[in-house]
């Protein structure tokens, strides 16, 4: 208690300074007056009395100071004062300070972002307990392919060891009110969660039977938030997977998303139910490789012995499972990354962190040095007035800490923003949720980076200050010590080169992206359409289903027309299918294929060059028809019109009824391939995508269309419903991403380089103030001085630009397969780069050059 009281007592001066000071003055004055009175009473004259009183008191000011020191917390007072001074000094040079803060913010932001990503992917410990004890059981065949296990194998293993878990990863269809979703499902033995030591965040992690007899299901956190809105009453409700009802037993915590990082599991169901269901019944007695097996091994267990026992269990006396030839049989491998692996990964990244941070700090240090150089008069005066060099150094350190602190805040914001962007980008494109976020480990990392940055950035000016010689400064003489000029030039030159490379790549990728958007995709991307991949469930003929669905959807208000296809061009999957076309007198051709509905080409905007597209008349029972692409036609028949010819595709004879233009099938970067279009109505099975053209904006019609579809076929499974525009954007995403990333890096690089260059040139100008004064006195005009400074900046930058252009050539050549209609040696891009680099360096050097011209030669020459 008395400790607290003491602290409060000592904190008072920070808030009630005036009152305390006045109180002390009053007290001392009273004391002196009383002493004077006593002296007067003792017989001295008034003047003598007063002087004697003062003498007896001792030093008044000294007493005051000692009292003050005692009264408050000394180090805190000094710190606050230093902070005030530092703040003032930094604000005086706003531009320089801002550049230094930005440099450090960029450095810390980038490294924290990189750290965040690697933390999520590599460093973060697995979300289950004692992950080093969990091992995967596997065996590999001759070709190093992993051979899985069947249920019987699991039973055998579970007999000889404890804590053995088997699971499968499958996709299942989660039914929803409007559209269904394919969700990642783990079918796992009931001891899955207990073995891993994972508890449910809501409800129970139980995979048996619920009270109402239905099988239990456990939801993943992501699915719970996404699909059920984080409903806190979800436990006990029913969901339908693959049309079967399950009761929700619990929800997993956000930290546990399954056993593989980056691929979040959506639902868990139990093996008991699965092995009783019609779909899984046959697996009960099977040894085919459907399951993966993991187990928890108590520490200090011999792995080989255990592996042998497991192996023996499944091979068994009855020769259950033949051992794979030439392989060591069953092996146990750790499931999570070991700390050794993490160390290696971290060690690999350390140079990257170090480099980025170092460059940023070097720039900041350069700027600080320039400032220190400009303030050397001020420092000299302080030294002469009795300040110790350590005091000066402390001031500079506080300034650096302030800059580093501001930079850290900025850096955290940059990192958080970057990670958020990355998260959404990756999830949008691939559905993978990497779970990136800035958490306490990122914060800790940022703190360490900040301290490191302050140390690096602050050392130079502090060393500078400690070496100052008072007399020399006041006489405006003496160099501040030879600076390692070459190191600085190398740094700025290197940064220029890197910026040029990134900027050049940015130009190339952006041009490529624009070309990608303009590439003729084989259809009109501006059409207002809704794309509905669907899997029918009604037991009717495919063509009948298609006809009826098309009719119904056409009746929905706002719909212009409906057609269908196996898949849409530029879809992320399904594009590898090829059919074999026999041509007499030639080798058979493997052609890409799509099955389309009537009026497909018309609706999509694909150009029909000759003949017709697929008609409503092309249905089951009618003669088989095909539409060929230009390339295919040329390969089969040369320049002859293929319409009317007959093709043998996979053994069946088709009549060619039309010729269409070539178009990319999978992505915009591939060239053309020979392509054939068949009538979807004539195909009995396969994937299907409904294509609905709308009169107005397609977005609002998605729901009514799905509703109508469900009305007709309640069990239909739809997955990935979107508008045509969204589909095209998704296809364009990689190109856009590359352009955005390289542009950001290019801009960042240039900002950093400009900061570094600015600092360097400013420092040089400050150092040579006297020389500039001499020149001006000798008749040099301001333009000459300016030109000299700019020329010096150019000489620093130009080697960097040249090296950068060379590196750009190399980099662009490596990336050329990614470009669309852009040559890696595009002269415009290179010229633009060189120009940009020149412009930026001149801009960075402009202000110091201006300041140089404002040097007053008289002041500069005079010894003040």
């Amino acid at each position: 208690m008395s400790r607290l009281r003491q602290i409060l007592f000592r904190l008072q001066p920070f808030f009630r300074r005036q009152k305390i000071e006045t109180g002390l003055s009053d007290e001392i004055r009273t004391h002196l007056e009383m002493q004077t009175e006593a002296n007067l009473a003792a017989g001295m004259s008034p003047v003598e009395a007063r002087n004697a009183a003062l003498r007896e008191f001792g030093g008044v000011d000294q007493a005051r100071e000692l009292y003050r020191d005692e009264r408050s917390i000394l180090w805190l007072e000094n710190l606050l004062r230093d902070l005030r001074f530092a703040g003032r000094a930094l604000l005086k040079n706003r531009g320089s300070t801002a550049l230094a803060v930005i440099s450090i913010a960029l450095g810390i932001g980038l490294t924290t972002a990189i750290f965040g990503v690697t933390d999520a992917l590599i460093f973060r410990p697995a979300a289950y307990t004692r992950s080093e004890e969990v091992f995967g059981v596997s065996s590999r065949g001759d070709d190093q392919r992993i051979i899985g296990y069947g249920w019987r194998d699991y039973e055998d293993m579970a007999r000889v060891a404890r804590n053995v878990v088997a699971y499968q990863r499958v996709g299942s269809v989660l039914a929803g009110p409007f559209n269904d979703e394919v969700v990642l499902t783990y079918i796992a033995t009931p001891n899955f969660f207990s073995m891993l030591g994972v508890r449910a965040a809501l409800g129970n992690a139980s995979l048996g039977s619920a009270g109402d007899g239905r099988p239990e299901v456990v939801l993943g956190h992501g699915l719970w938030m996404r699909r059920f809105g984080g409903d806190p009453t979800i436990v006990g409700k029913t969901i339908r997977l693959n049309s079967e009802p399950f009761t929700v037993a619990g929800v997993m915590p956000a930290a546990f998303t399954g056993l593989i990082r980056g691929i979040p599991c959506d639902v868990w169901i139990g093996t008991d139910h699965y092995l009783d269901s019609p779909g899984g019944r046959y697996e009960r007695s099977s040894r085919s490789s459907q399951f993966e097996i993991i187990m928890r091994v108590p520490p200090a267990t011999a792995l080989e012995g255990l592996a042998e026992r497991l192996d023996a269990a499944i091979r068994g006396i009855d020769g259950h499972k033949p051992a794979p030839s030439g392989s060591p049989g069953t092996v146990l491998e750790p499931l999570a990354l070991t700390w050794r692996q993490k160390l290696v990964a971290g060690g690999g990244l350390l140079p990257v962190f170090a480099l980025v941070l170092f460059v940023a700090c070097a720039n900041a240090a350069q700027l600080r040095l320039a400032q220190a150089e400009a303030r050397k008069k001020e420092m000299g005066v302080r030294l002469a007035l009795g300040s110790s060099p350590w005091r000066l150094a402390r001031l500079l350190i506080v300034e650096t800490l302030l800059i580093a602190g501001a930079g850290a805040v900025g850096g955290l914001l940059i990192a958080a923003g970057t990670i958020a962007l990355l998260n959404s980008a990756v999830t949008t494109v691939s559905g993978i949720d990497l779970g990136l976020n800035v958490d306490w480990r990122g914060g800790l990392f940022t703190l360490a980076a900040t301290l490191l940055a302050s140390a690096l950035a602050g050392l130079a000016p502090v060393r500078h200050a400690l070496r100052l010689n008072v007399l020399d400064i006041l006489k405006s003489e003496g160099g501040m010590g030879r600076l390692k000029n070459r190191m600085q030039r190398l740094l700025v030159g290197g940064q220029t080169a890197a910026s040029v490379v990134f900027f050049g790549l940015a130009l190339l990728f952006t041009t490529s992206f624009h070309h990608a958007s303009a590439v003729w995709m084989g259809f009109d991307p501006n059409k207002t359409m809704v794309v509905i991949p669907a899997a029918p469930s009604l037991p009717m003929a495919r063509s009948a289903w298609l006809e009826q669905v098309s009719e119904r959807l056409r009746a929905v208000p706002g719909v212009r027309d409906v057609t269908f296809a196996r898949r849409l061009p530029l879809s992320p999957s399904g594009g590898g299918m090829k059919l074999r076309i026999e041509v007499p007198g030639q080798a058979p051709i493997a052609a890409g294929v799509n099955m389309v509905g009537s009026n497909y080409f018309g609706m999509m905007g694909t150009r029909l060059l000759s003949g017709r597209g697929i008609d409503p008349g092309d249905r089951v029972g009618a003669p088989l028809v095909a539409v060929v692409s230009q390339l295919l036609a040329r390969q089969i028949l040369g320049n002859q019109n293929p319409v009317g010819e007959t093709l043998t595709i996979e053994g069946d004879r088709y009549q060619v009824v039309g010729l269409v233009e070539d178009a990319p099938s999978n992505d915009l970067h591939e060239g053309s391939q020979p392509f054939v279009y068949l009538a979807a109505a004539q195909m009995a099975r396969g994937d299907l995508t409904l294509i609905v053209e709308t009169a107005g904006a397609p977005g609002p019609l998605v729901r009514p269309l799905l509703q109508e579809l469900k009305h007709f076929d309640a069990g239909v499974v739809t997955n990935g419903v979107m508008t045509l525009r969204q589909h095209v954007d998704r296809a364009l995403f990689p190109d856009r991403a590359a352009a955005v990333i390289t542009t950001s890096l290019g801009v960042l690089g240039f900002v950093l380089t400009a900061a570094g260059l600015f600092g360097m040139v400013q420092f040089s100008v400050n150092r040579r103030t006297r020389e500039i004064g001499v020149r001006m006195a000798l008749g040099a005009g301001p333009e000459m001085i300016q030109r000299a400074v700019l020329r010096e900046a150019w000489f620093i930058v130009s080697p960097g630009v040249i090296v950068g252009l060379f590196l750009l050539g190399g980099g662009a050549w490596c990336c050329q397969s990614w470009f669309i209609k852009v040559s890696p040696l595009d002269p415009t891009a290179y010229a633009a780069c060189a120009l940009a680099a020149t412009a930026i360096s001149l801009l960075a050097a402009w202000l110091p050059a201006q300041r140089a011209t404002r040097v007053n030669p008289v002041d500069a020459l005079r010894a003040e």
């Binding site: 002390l24 007290e27 008191f57 005692e70």
Partner: protein, 108 residues
């Protein structure tokens, strides 16, 4: 008159002792200390006021503004119960220390 460099702790102990009878202001304290030491100790104000500050921080002494005999505004320092206890403890300690040292000096 001997100007002594008292250890800070000793000065505080003496101040506590001086305040034992009644609250006093700074001047009064310096007079009392001189009196108690029979004119041998002259405490410098540069030591007295910081010492009073320390005592106040520890809570052994209370300070209040009051009016002196001559109608002057003065700050009066008074011993608190904790201060009395502290005085007792320090006195005992000092007596033990000084008797030990005396004995050691007298030994042959």
């Amino acid at each position: 008159m001997v100007k002594s460099d008292l250890l800070p702790g000793t000065l505080e102990m003496l101040i506590l002792k001086a305040l034992q009878l009644e609250p006093m202001h700074g001047f009064g304290l310096s007079v009392r200390l001189k009196q108690m030491s029979r004119d041998l100790f002259q405490v410098e104000m540069g030591s007295l006021y910081p010492a009073l500050c320390r005592l106040e921080a520890q809570g052994w002494v209370n300070a209040k503004w009051g009016v002196s005999d001559n109608n002057r505004k003065a700050r009066y320092y008074a011993l608190t119960p904790a201060g009395r206890k502290q005085l007792q403890a320090e006195t005992t300690q000092w007596e033990l220390l000084s008797s030990t040292i005396n004995a050691m000096l007298r030994a042959t």
